[in-house]
Symmetry: C2
Subunit: 80 residues, 2 copies
């Protein structure tokens, strides 16, 4: 089973990396860029008996390792 986990900063958490990208896009001449926020994506291949089991496993992986739930949100999408 393949899944994509997307981890993004919660609203209100400062994102200096995103700000730097915003600045760089401005310097390159792109105008009309409002805000940029950077996150992470994990493509995970795993074996699981059912979609539900896979969701549970992935949720647990996010809580324990992939995301810092104090400042980050995560979203799990099963791809196939």
């Amino acid at each position: 089973m393949k899944a994509r986990v997307t981890v993004t900063l919660k609203n209100g958490v400062l994102d200096p990396q995103g700000k730097a990208i915003e600045g760089a896009l401005g310097s390159l001449g792109f105008d009309g860029v409002g805000s940029v926020r950077q996150g992470k994506v994990f493509d995970v291949e795993l074996t699981a008996g059912s979609e539900g089991e896979a969701q549970d496993k992935l949720k647990s992986m996010c809580e324990q390792l992939l995301a810092n739930t104090v400042i980050e949100d995560y979203a799990i999408t099963l791809v196939e």
Copy 2:
């Protein structure tokens, strides 16, 4: 207009960070994890006259700054 740009390593490009996560998941007792590959996601807010114009702008941003097209692929999704 809001868009999400997802940048992932091309197939065949080594991903040591992904490998480290794979190992860490194993140490935490998650079994059945095949492979993990890590990528980046950018949430961009921009003003554009039309969806097509936004797509063009974002494509150009990816080529010039957001992705290293030698080793990375990118995907653009307009969110709203």
